[in-house]
Each structure stands twice: as structure tokens, then as C-alpha cells.
């Protein structure tokens, strides 16, 4: 190893130390920027949906008169509540109470999975497909794209749960958990808009 390299590594180490406390702040800032950007995808899908819905003469495919709202409403309630549950989990972590954190995170995951399951059941029972005109296409596009995000959220939570088992993992901050929770709130807000557009506005 050359002298130069040793010096370089030395410097890198000290730099890293110096920047450590900034790094978490950067990550949070960056993640929020990312979510804002991500929301534009949904925004464009929503805009598309509104335009299609207001301009298409035969909106619903033959034999479809509207969407059942009862089960989706239950689903919605579960998803919205889970936002509070993950918040509680985060509080527990903040207070260094790992077991409470794990418990509530697990609860969030179960609620998220319930939502996905409910969505799957709904999809199976529907009398139309993604090829059933613009209604079918946008319905599956929006719910499917959102569902993918829910799935991602649950997977992130799983990772956080597993990581909480590593001793001392959250001693130097827990940006990962914050991000997961932020993401989950984001997925939630999107769903509220989506639910209003698709189920309420019929």
C-alpha cells in the first residue's frame, strides 16, 4: 500500500466522521424531494382519469353500472388507521422501546396486507377487465399502481422489522424507519384521493 493511499484513507475516514451528522438530514431531505416527485406520477394518472371520465360517452362497459363501495370503504378505513399505527410505532422507537415498536410495526404490516388482500378479492369479483374500455383501463391502472406502492411499503416495513432485531441498529438514528413511515403516509394520502375519484365520484 502506498503512502498516498494510507493518507487518502485517513482523510476519507475523518471526512466521513465530519459528515455523518449531516448525512441523515440529507437523506431525509432527499427522500421528501423524491416523494414529491413521485406524487407527480399519480397526479398525472389522476388528471388522465378525470379527463377520460369527463369526455368518454360510454364510461362504464356494458353491464357495469358502477362500483361496489362497501368493502372498499372498509379497506380504506383499515389503510387510513394504519397510518396512525405506524406513527405510534415510530414514537415507541423514539422512546427506545423496541418491543412496542416491533409490535405496532407488525400491526401496520398486517393492516397493509389486509388492504392488499381486500384489493385482490375485489379485483377477482369484478365483471370487467383492464381491456374493458377506458374505465377498465384506468381503474386497474390506478388501483394497481397504488397497490404496488402498498406492497413496497409493506416490504419496507418488513425490512425495518428484521433490522430492529440487530442489536444496536438504531443507536445512531433511524432514518430508515422515518422514511418507511413517511412513505406509508404518502401511500395513504394517495389512496384517499384515489378513493374519492374512483369510488365516491361515480
Amino acid at each position: 500500500m502506498t503512502v498516498e493511499r494510507v493518507i487518502a484513507q485517513d482523510i476519507e475516514a475523518s471526512v466521513r466522521e465530519h459528515q455523518e451528522h449531516d448525512a441523515a438530514g440529507n437523506s431525509k431531505f432527499g427522500f421528501i424531494v423524491f416523494l414529491l416527485s413521485e406524487s407527480v406520477i399519480f397526479l398525472s394518472f389522476f388528471t388522465g382519469y378525470i379527463i377520460y371520465k369527463t369526455t368518454t360517452p360510454d364510461w362504464y362497459p356494458l353491464g357495469v353500472t358502477g362500483l361496489e363501495t362497501r368493502e372498499p370503504l372498509i379497506n380504506t378505513m383499515v389503510l387510513i388507521s394504519s397510518s396512525f399505527v405506524i406513527y405510534v410505532a415510530e414514537r415507541y422507537l423514539h422512546d427506545r422501546k423496541l418491543w412496542g415498536f416491533r409490535l405496532f410495526l407488525l400491526a401496520t404490516m398486517i393492516m397493509g396486507s389486509y388492504f392488499l388482500w381486500g384489493q385482490a378479492v375485489e379485483w377477482r369479483g369484478l365483471p370487467f377487465t383492464h381491456q374493458s374500455g377506458l374505465f377498465g383501463g384506468t381503474f386497474y391502472l390506478l388501483t394497481g399502481f397504488h397497490g404496488l406502492h402498498v406492497l413496497t411499503g409493506v416490504l419496507l416495513q418488513l425490512i425495518m422489522l428484521v433490522r430492529s432485531l440487530i442489536p444496536g441498529n438504531y443507536d445512531n438514528g433511524y432514518f430508515g424507519v422515518e422514511a418507511t413511515s413517511l412513505f406509508w403516509h404518502f401511500v395513504d394520502v394517495i389512496w384517499i384521493v384515489l378513493y374519492t375519484l374512483i369510488y365516491v365520484w361515480q
Binding site: N26, G30, S39, I41, L43, G48, G136, G137
Partner: protein, 571 residues
């Protein structure tokens, strides 16, 4: 004689050997997280694709030198301009500018790296994947996408081979990956610029280039997701039989155009803004005067970011847009002239009364600005609805945008590469070759793209492999010019390769320039700065006596390279 102090530069510990040392060049082929390595990776990769895109355009110009479609089949011609446009934009202009930004932004703001170095590397390595997908589409049955770089449905949904894997699908995938890479890059840039500026570097002490990069990357953040949304829907139409944009299934092809241009119009400013930044950095150095009206120039970049979100329909004046939309977007489009004008006038005032030296980067910057004014004015022509209704989709438009894309942007990129070449390599390029390169490029641009304007006014549509005889005259000139442009890249290549290997070694600041990046070694060490600089004044202190940073000197004269003695300069 000089207003600059002569203190020695901060001594820098070399964290890495000089480039050219045997264990050194290999790092450019690794998953490095050093922003400087990534910057060079971007630039070099992008340049390879510039050559590929350029070769495609050479074949196109070969086809167009005669009125008949006789060199290549019509399907091939359509694939050529589609891939030429796509490669030039997604594989050359975007990546090369991200590369320059990557290299320069952390240095200019006194940061040790980008905010997320690993993410940065991931963003870069997606680019070769995009390139491979694009090139691979030449090999699949049915050939590459043939629907133009807009991929407008229904043409883009027509799938002659019926295969699931076809050129159009690959194209959409490539564009989507390139989009993900750009969004991640944008998050990185925005975070870096917001949070990692050196102590004392307030917003109005931040170099104009950094402002411009910020403005451009903000556009990526709000615009790209819309394109991604549209691309996802197009892909679903193409593969799963949904009907979003397919008219025969009740879909609305015009909506795609809105999705597409909502991003792709602002995208042109993503490309031009960093180049504005390059001009703003280069002119003060080589005219030895502060950037005139620096604050408004910096702020006007953000103004462009905002306005450019509301002009996209000017690409659709002739499609099914109702009158009120045409009028509204005409006004917003023309408003872009205001922030653009602020910049142009500021640049002219910067060189006015300065001590101008015609170095290669300066020549390219000056040539680029003059082309930009021309192209901007033809842009205003296009913004006028009645005029656009005549010239839309003609060669007038092709002339307009090549004047920007080649005349202003590619020339600006060249300017930037020459200007920071000594910083990146520690060596100087060859002036003679540089000036030859400039002359060929400038003449070639005019010869190739000027004749496209009259051809367009006469009514020659774009994207045609054959055309009526009346247009032959202008096309022959354009083709000859095009070949000249192709040749013009050769002195550049020669210059870069040979100067990097054996160019004259110069000091850290051969231009005696202000700016944090010039206070560190050339090439900078891995960590950029031994200690974080503390900025105490604005970025363009020429002629004044204010030091830029605490405990450190102004640009020093001791490093002035032999070949750059003033005698040769003035010639």
C-alpha cells in the same frame, strides 16, 4: 499590473496518483462513488453515444442529398431519425450535462462529494443499460422504434411484427430507465445544492452554474414523472391491450401528446440551462470581468423553471387544440424570451469593456451564444400560432432546434469541456486543434442547419425520406454541411486523447479564475478539499481585490502555463 494577490495556493494532499499512472485509469471502469470519476464516466459514455447518434444522422443526410428514397428503405429511414433523436437527447445531451454537473457542482460549492455517492453511481450505471437497450433494438425482428422520438400513438401502437418484444417496447423501457436514472440524479443534485454548500456560500454567493443546474434538476423532478406516467400507459396499450391512447378502442391519442410535452418541453430547458451556466462561468474568466447582473442571471434560471411548466402546448398548436389553448400557450411561450433576454444581455454586458482572450472555450461560448440568440428568435417565431401553423412539422422546426441543440448546447458543452479540461486532467489541451475544431463546428452548424429554415418555409415536412424536387437545393447544402460537422469532431477527439496522455502539465489554476474549483489541485484529490473552504465573497471577483475564501489566496499567477504566456494569447 494585476489586482490578484500572489499568495501560494493551499497545499493539497494528493489522495490519488496523477491520471495516466497505471493503476489510475481503471477506476473509470469501476463502480466508483467519487463524483469526479462518475462525472468523467458520464461524459465519456455520452460522447460515445454522440458519435453513434451522429453517424445515424450522417446516413440520414446521405439519404436526403437526393430527393428519392434510394439509399435506405423507408422503414430504415424512419428508424434512423427516431434513434438519432432519442440517442442524441437521452444518451448524449442529458448524460453529458449530468456528467459536467456531477464533476463541477460539488467542487464549486466546496463539498466533498454529492449528497448520495452510491445513488450517484447507480444513476450512472443505468445509462449504459439504456444505451444497450436502444442499440439492441436494431437487432430485434421488425427493427427499432420507427415512430419518432415522440412515439406518438397510434403509430407507436402499430406493431407490424406482432411480437411482444419489439423495437417500440425496448424504446419505452429504455426511456423509462433513463427517466428513473434522471430522477434519482435530480434528487441527488437538489439535496447536494440545498444542503452541502460550503460555510459562507449563501445563495447569492453560489456560482451561476450551480443555480442553473438546480433550476434544471427541479424541472426533472416535476416533469419526468408525467412522462413516466404516459410511458407506462403507452406500454400497457402496446402489450396488455388497454385502450388509453388507442383510438380504435376508444382511447384518446391527444392525451398522450399532453403527457409527452408536459415533460419534453421543459426538458429542452433541462438541457439548455446548464449550458447557460457554462457560459456564465466562462465569459467572466476569459473577459476578466465579473458576470454582469449576476443576481438576475442566477434568478432568471428559476424563472425559466417555472414558466417552462406552462408552455408545453406550443408543440401541439396544429393538433387538436382549441383556439383558447392556442392563444394562452402562445403568450406563455413568448414570455420565455424575458428571462432568456436577461441572460443574453447580461453576457453581452459582461464582455463589454473587458479584457477578452480568444481561448478555445471562450470561442465556443461566444459562438454558442450567437447561435442561441438566433435560435431563440426562431423559437419566438414558432411561438406565434399563425406562423407555427404554417411551419409546424417542417424543416423550419428542425432548423430551430438544431440551432439550439447543436449550435448552442453542443457548442456550450465543448466550451465547458475545454475550460475545465485542465482541472480534470491537470493538463492543457492544444489551442491550435481547439481553434480548428471551433472553426469547423461553427461553419458546419451554419451550413447544415441554416438551409433548413428556407426549406421549411417552402413547406418541406420533416421526417420524410423522399421529397419534392423544389427542396433539393437546400438539402444538398445541408448534407454537405452535415458531413463537415461530422469531420469537425475529429480534431476534438484527437485533441482530447493526445492532451490527456501527453499534454503540457499546468498548475491548479491556469486561467487565473475565481471559483472554489480552482483553489484545489488539478486533478482534485478524492476528497476535493483538505479542509472545507469558508466562502467570504461573491463568485466573480475579477478586477476587485476581495479574496474568495478565508485563509486562502485568490487565483494565483504562479501556475500560468508556458504555452499560455500572454504573447500567444493575444494572437
Amino acid at each position: 499590473m494585476t489586482n490578484l494577490s500572489l499568495d501560494p495556493p493551499i497545499s493539497i494532499v494528493r489522495g490519488q496518483p496523477q491520471p495516466g499512472a497505471p493503476d489510475n485509469w481503471r477506476r473509470f471502469f469501476t463502480f466508483s462513488t467519487d463524483h469526479k470519476v462518475i462525472g468523467v464516466q458520464y461524459i465519456v459514455t455520452a460522447f460515445v453515444f454522440f458519435l453513434i447518434g451522429g453517424i445515424l444522422s450522417m446516413i440520414m443526410r446521405g439519404e436526403l442529398i437526393t430527393p428519392e428514397a434510394d439509399l435506405v428503405d423507408r422503414t430504415v429511414y424512419n428508424a434512423l431519425f427516431t434513434m438519432h433523436g432519442s440517442i442524441m437527447l437521452f444518451m448524449w445531451t442529458f448524460p453529458v450535462l449530468v456528467g459536467l454537473g456531477n464533476y463541477l457542482v460539488p467542487l464549486m460549492i466546496g463539498a466533498r462529494d454529492m449528497a448520495f455517492p452510491r445513488l450517484n453511481a447507480v444513476s450512472f450505471w443505468m445509462i449504459p443499460v439504456v444505451g444497450i437497450l436502444m442499440l439492441a433494438s436494431f437487432l430485434v425482428p421488425g427493427g427499432p422504434s420507427q415512430s419518432g422520438w415522440w412515439a406518438y400513438p397510434p403509430v407507436s401502437l402499430q406493431n407490424p411484427t406482432g411480437n411482444l418484444i419489439n423495437g417500440q417496447v425496448l424504446w419505452i423501457l429504455a426511456v423509462a430507465i433513463s427517466g428513473v436514472s434522471s430522477i434519482l440524479g435530480a434528487v441527488n443534485f437538489v439535496t447536494t445544492i440545498f444542503r452541502m454548500r460550503a460555510p459562507g456560500m449563501t445563495w447569492f454567493r453560489t456560482p451561476a452554474f450551480v443555480w442553473a443546474v438546480l433550476a434544471a434538476q427541479l424541472i426533472q423532478l416535476y416533469g419526468l414523472p408525467a412522462l413516466t406516467g404516459g410511458a407506462v400507459m403507452l406500454l400497457l396499450d402496446l402489450t396488455l391491450g388497454t385502450s388509453f391512447f388507442a383510438p380504435e378502442r376508444g382511447g384518446n391519442p391527444i392525451l398522450y401528446q399532453h403527457f409527452f410535452w408536459f415533460y419534453s418541453h421543459p426538458a429542452v430547458y433541462v438541457m439548455v440551462l446548464p449550458v447557460f451556466g457554462i457560459y456564465s462561468e466562462i465569459l467572466p474568466v476569459h473577459a476578466r470581468k465579473p458576470l454582469f447582473g449576476y443576481r438576475v442571471i442566477a434568478a432568471s434560471s428559476l424563472l425559466i423553471t417555472v414558466i417552462s411548466a406552462f408552455v408545453w402546448v406550443h408543440h401541439m398548436f396544429a393538433s387538436a387544440t382549441p383556439g383558447w389553448m392556442r392563444m394562452f400557450f402562445m403568450v406563455t411561450t413568448m414570455l420565455v424570451a424575458v428571462p432568456s433576454g436577461i441572460k443574453v444581455f447580461g453576457w453581452v454586458a459582461t464582455i463589454w469593456g473587458g479584457k477578452i482572450r480568444f481561448t478555445t472555450p471562450m470561442l465556443f461560448a461566444l459562438g454558442g451564444i450567437s447561435n442561441w440568440v438566433f435560435a431563440g428568435i426562431t423559437g419566438i417565431f414558432l411561438g406565434s400560432v399563425p406562423i407555427d401553423i404554417h411551419v409546424n412539422n417542417t424543416y423550419f422546426v428542425v432548423g430551430h432546434f438544431h440551432y439550439v441543440l447543436y449550435g448552442a448546447i453542443v457548442m456550450g458543452i465543448y466550451a465547458g469541456i475545454y475550460h475545465w479540461f485542465p482541472k480534470m486532467t491537470g493538463r492543457m489541451y492544444y489551442e491550435g486543434l481547439g481553434k480548428l475544431h471551433f472553426a469547423l463546428t461553427y461553419i458546419g452548424t451554419a451550413l447544415t442547419f441554416l438551409p433548413m429554415h428556407p426549406a421549411g418555409l417552402m413547406g418541406m415536412p420533416r421526417r420524410v425520406a423522399s421529397y419534392d424536387l423544389e427542396f433539393a437545393y437546400w438539402n444538398v447544402i445541408a448534407s454537405i454541411g452535415g458531413f463537415l460537422l461530422g469531420l469537425s469532431t475529429l480534431p476534438f477527439l484527437l485533441n482530447m486523447v493526445s492532451s490527456w496522455i501527453r499534454g503540457e502539465r499546468v498548475g491548479n489554476n491556469p486561467w487565473r479564475a475565481y471559483g472554489l474549483e480552482w483553489l484545489t489541485a488539478s486533478p482534485p484529490s478524492v476528497e476535493n478539499y483538505e479542509e472545507t473552504p469558508i466562502v467570504i465573497s461573491g463568485p466573480y471577483g475579477y478586477g476587485g481585490n476581495k479574496p474568495l475564501v478565508e485563509h486562502a489566496p485568490n487565483p494565483d499567477l504562479t501556475d500560468f502555463p508556458e504555452s499560455f504566456t500572454p504573447q500567444e494569447q493575444a494572437s
